[in-house]
């Protein structure tokens, strides 16, 4: 409305004031053309490199996934939500989310609407390169002028939309500049130091849109404009008196665009272009196989160096660990700094929190694990003592009666926490479940600790032996109390026809099926999400269902996928006892903020760690349940 009004009261006659370029070319477009050509070629080569380093199997998987409707739909959704809207950042830090979506979605829409505008108003210019189709939409306001007398309503609407979008982007850029000055204001304590290329790209990015505003304002009386550009145009006229200033600004605009594209591959802003590829690859279910090539390379370049992972990392409750954050690990990988890569790869707790909160979804712990593999996989090991197990344990020998039984695997760590085993035993009794105890006397490690240490080959051997034992038992349900075991059983064992359950899931099911009746106590409970159970296996709701039935379940400030690791994770190879204890304190502080009467967790490691630091009683999940089972009246 306003724009229509403005154009109505301000008839400008451009004839004779300025030359237009009928051949649709001007030298100032050159920097942009060079920049965009460079980035397109770079992208193409990069894409070929990444695809080349995938295994053949993975390549086919990726290609196929593009045509599976479900995955394709998810791709579209993720591309829109993650690349443009940045919903992940919105959820955690709304202001930061706004900043990102303003720049990304705003810029994207400027391009799309710009193209539409060109398509509608100057269709022939989209047809051939000779007509300058590439830069037409970009520099439309330079190459086309509209006689205000001919301005249609449709054009005005476009002018309005384009000005609005530009304002949207500019608001994002403004926030970005503000953030640089005071990153704390947006809720980030630590942020990364930019490299030279980062700076060049950053300052160009900052300059692009203000320059575009200036440039379009200078020509607004000729090409048309709206509520933003028109008033600026009058202002410039009042101050500068002539319109010839517009040439330098159009040059500057083009140079900034060109420079931005040239600096992009060497800067963190490469994430803008890499993220879509990462999304496609991730949705196709690809896995990291080499720490620097293929899928990992896509992840490395998709990292935006935003540094959100620095604040998220549980190790960073101690300042000295800041330098081991995921963002630096990825940065050194990108720079092929092997010494630092190996140093950092070993430090991580592998709790997965950085991956969970990463706006791009870079799974850096997984890359660290594969990096460890490059160093430790070749270490000599000898598990020949397991051979006899694999030979004697045969599924044919399984008793037929075993089919309905539950097979319980406590795992190494649970043997150091007899309370857990004892509670599981009572639970089986109370629910009348028929069960077998796989590792009561002797047991084989599940393989996860070896995987975490990078000894994948050794892990495979342990997995094989355990698998043989489980299959030979004839049981169709495998129950685990240790989430560390659970993760590897789910991901690496490939147990066909055997259901793998964590005891939180199992108990939730028993309660739902009415095999146990829970009594609601008055105790205020806070639940600690173990890393491997929550972020590792995505089990958040079952334990909460059960615990809210046995007591008053409180929320910790950081819970679910933001839960703070207890510090005793097997993922870290290097942390000593004192550092682990510090992290445990930090983790307990978070839980104690909910002011609970007791803390409940569902992992033997977390149980031990939290117990050692907690001022209130700490209970194992099964223990808390067993204490609150109503004695059934039917069974006696």
């Amino acid at each position: 409305m306003i724009s229509i009004l403005i154009s109505a009261v301000q008839p400008v006659t451009p004839e004779g004031i300025i030359d237009r370029y009928p051949n649709s070319y001007n030298h100032f477009v050159l920097p942009f053309v060079i920049g965009i050509s460079f980035i397109l070629v770079y992208l193409l080569i990069g894409l070929i490199r990444v695809l080349y380093h995938l295994t053949g199997e993975d390549r086919i998987k990726l290609l196929k996934s593009l045509f599976i409707p479900k995955t394709a739909l998810k791709n579209l959704k993720d591309l829109f939500c993650d690349c443009l809207l940045h919903t992940k950042i919105w959820k955690r830090k709304p202001l930061l989310g706004y900043m990102h979506s303003a720049i990304a979605l705003g810029w994207f829409l400027l391009i799309i609407v710009g193209h539409l505008e060109v398509y509608i108003f100057a269709p022939r210019h989209l047809e051939g390169i000779t007509e300058g189709s590439l830069y037409y939409p970009i520099f439309y306001r330079f190459f086309i002028w509209i006689n205000p007398a001919h301005e249609t309503l449709r054009g005005t609407v476009f002018f309005f939309i384009m000005d609005l979008l530009l304002l949207y982007v500019l608001s994002g850029i403004g926030l970005a500049m503000f953030k640089r000055v005071r990153s704390i204001a947006l809720g980030m304590r630590h942020t990364t130091k930019p490299s030279l290329a980062d700076r060049v790209a950053l300052y160009c990015l900052w300059a692009i849109f203000p320059l575009r505003l200036l440039a379009e304002s200078f020509t607004a009386d000729l090409s048309g404009g709206s509520f933003l550009t028109k008033p600026m145009n009058w202002m410039f006229k009042a101050f500068f008196g002539n319109e010839l200033n517009f040439m330098p600004t159009w040059w500057a605009y083009s140079i900034c665009l060109g420079l931005f594209f040239l600096a992009m591959p060497f800067s963190r802003y490469m994430h803008i272009l890499t993220e879509p590829l990462l999304i496609l690859m991730r949705n196709a279910g690809l896995k990291v196989r080499k720490p620097r090539k293929g899928f990992a390379e896509a992840e490395i370049y998709a990292c935006s160096s935003c540094g959100l992972c620095i604040d998220a990392c549980p190790m960073n409750s101690q300042k000295k660990n800041l330098k081991y954050s995921s963002v630096y690990f990825i940065r050194f990988l990108r720079r092929h700094n092997n010494r630092r890569i190996n140093e950092i790869a070993d430090k991580c707790l592998m709790c997965g929190k950085c991956a969970a909160i990463c706006p791009v979804g870079v799974n850096s712990p997984e890359i660290r694990r594969v990096q460890r593999e490059t160093l430790n996989n070749s270490i000599n090991y000898d598990y020949s003592y397991l051979d006899s197990i694999a030979q004697t344990a045969k599924p044919e020998n399984a008793e037929a009666s075993a089919e309905g039984k539950v097979l319980y695997f406590a795992g190494c760590m649970s043997h150091l926490t007899p309370k857990i085993i004892k509670s599981v035993e009572s639970l089986m009794k109370a629910s009348g479940t028929e069960w077998e105890f796989l590792d009561k006397d002797k047991g084989i490690c599940c393989g996860r600790p070896q995987m975490l240490a990078g000894k994948t080959q050794a892990a495979r051997k342990a997995i094989q032996a355990n698998k043989a034992l489980i299959e030979a038992s004839g049981c169709k349900t495998l129950l685990l109390s240790c989430p560390i075991c659970l993760k590897v059983f789910k991901e690496e064992y490939g147990l066909k026809g055997i259901e793998i359950l964590h005891y939180t899931q199992f108990i939730d099911r028993l309660a739902k099926e009415g095999k146990i009746t829970l009594e609601k106590g008055t105790e205020a409970i806070v639940y600690h999400d173990p890393c491997e159970l929550g972020r590792g296996c995505g089990i958040y709701n079952e334990p909460r269902n059960v615990l809210s039935a046995v007591g008053d379940l409180k929320k910790a400030p950081k819970e679910r996928d933001e839960s703070v690791c207890c510090g005793y994770s097997l993922g870290s190879m290097t942390l000593d006892e004192k550092d682990r204890a510090k992290i445990a304190e930090h983790s307990v502080d978070n839980l104690m903020a909910a002011n609970p009467d007791c803390i409940v967790t569902a992992c033997p490691m977390c149980y031990r760690a939290i117990r050692s630091k907690s001022p209130v009683p700490v209970k194992d999940f099964a223990e808390a349940v067993v204490e609150n089972i109503k004695p059934s009246k039917t069974k006696k």
Partner: protein, 339 residues
């Protein structure tokens, strides 16, 4: 005028120091948080190395303190440092203006349930040294003859994970003493002691060790117990390494006694917080000097005796109590007899 001395803690150290201070002519006020005086000594049955009765020993100490103002079930509510003395408000409402204060807050036994893998509080047969003494004292030992009994040394001592890297000094001798006593009650049971180092440093301690080997046939296994599980028939299965033969070892037991070590007492810590007393890394209070001024703190007129400055045997504690009395006497004379 008699000078007031406040003694915090009515265990052996507090009792012995009070008796001596009274003898030296001071007005002693002794406070004890529990109902009865005697501290851990009151809960023990017999004492190493000679097996004398703890009750008799305590009675002898108590006789000496007649005439001392003893307030049981009384704690220190607050304490302030004045110009020359201390102003203490007790939980029974009494205010004491003391010219010197002796802290004899002693130790708490390590909470054995913290060593999760030993199953204290989970398995019925797992008890602590204090539980066993109580059973002896109250004559409540299980009547059912156990076949095998184990003693685990260093529970919560020499263990960084348990937060106490130090040796608790008394557990080795206590374990050997208790092993002999248990064997006396159950002569047919096999008794094992799981130790890391046997620290039998005092007079007659080695004799005790020899007696345990020669007369009672107690098996000493050099290895720390790493975990305790339950067998199918409800017995305790203990895992350790017999480090002398370099083989992992397991044995089924009916009773397992955990030798809980010494930790600084909680009530002592509250006093420490009020006066900002410094502690060393092990959590016990730091003396002004670990050789020459063990009884003195960094505050003038504030003294220590007994296990509040680290694990000690009973005789050590009594020595310290006596020397604390002499130190306090010297301090008072220097400070208050001028003119």
């Amino acid at each position: 005028m008699k000078n007031n001395i406040l003694v915090i803690g009515g265990g052996p150290a507090g009792l012995e120091a009070s008796a001596n201070l009274k003898r030296l002519g001071y007005n002693v006020i002794l406070i004890e948080k529990d109902k009865q005086l005697g501290g851990h000594l009151a809960k023990w049955d017999r004492l190493f190395p000679d097996g004398v009765s703890a009750r008799q020993t305590l009675n002898a100490l108590l006789e000496e303190v007649s005439g001392v103002n003893c307030f049981t079930e009384t704690q220190l509510q607050s304490i302030n440092v004045l110009d020359k003395s201390y102003n203490a408000i007790l939980s029974n409402g009494i205010t004491v203006l003391a010219d010197a204060v002796l802290l004899a807050s002693g130790f708490d036994l390590f909470k054995a349930e913290k060593k999760e893998e030993y199953g204290y509080g989970i398995y019925e047969g797992v008890i602590t040294n204090a539980d066993l003494e109580e059973a002896f004292r109250e004559k409540k030992l299980p009547s059912k003859q156990p076949q095998a009994i184990g003693f685990v040394h260093c529970v919560g001592s020499r263990d960084e994970k348990a937060g106490n890297p130090a040796c608790s000094k008394v557990c080795c001798a206590t374990a050997v003493k208790q092993a002999c006593e248990v064997k006396e009650v159950y002569p047919d049971a096999d008794v094992y002691c799981f130790y890391m180092d046997l620290r039998m440093f005092g007079r007659h301690y080695e004799d005790l060790y020899l007696k345990a080997q020669k007369e009672f046939g107690i098996r000493f296994i050099r290895g720390r117990v790493s975990e305790v599980a339950e067998t199918a028939d409800g017995r305790l299965q203990v895992k350790a390494e017999d480090t002398l033969s370099s083989k992992p070892l397991r044995v089924s037991l009916d009773m397992l006694v955990l030798m809980a070590g010494m930790r600084p007492s909680e009530s002592g810590k509250t006093v420490g917080r009020q006066l900002n007393l410094t502690t060393e890394e092990d959590g016990f209070f730091s003396s002004a000097d670990n050789l020459l001024e063990i009884q003195r703190s960094k505050l003038p007129g504030f003294f220590y005796a007994g296990a509040c400055t680290g694990a000690k045997t009973l005789p050590d504690t009594l020595h310290e109590a006596r020397s604390a009395a002499i130190e306090i006497d010297r301090y008072i004379k220097e400070k208050f007899s001028e003119k």
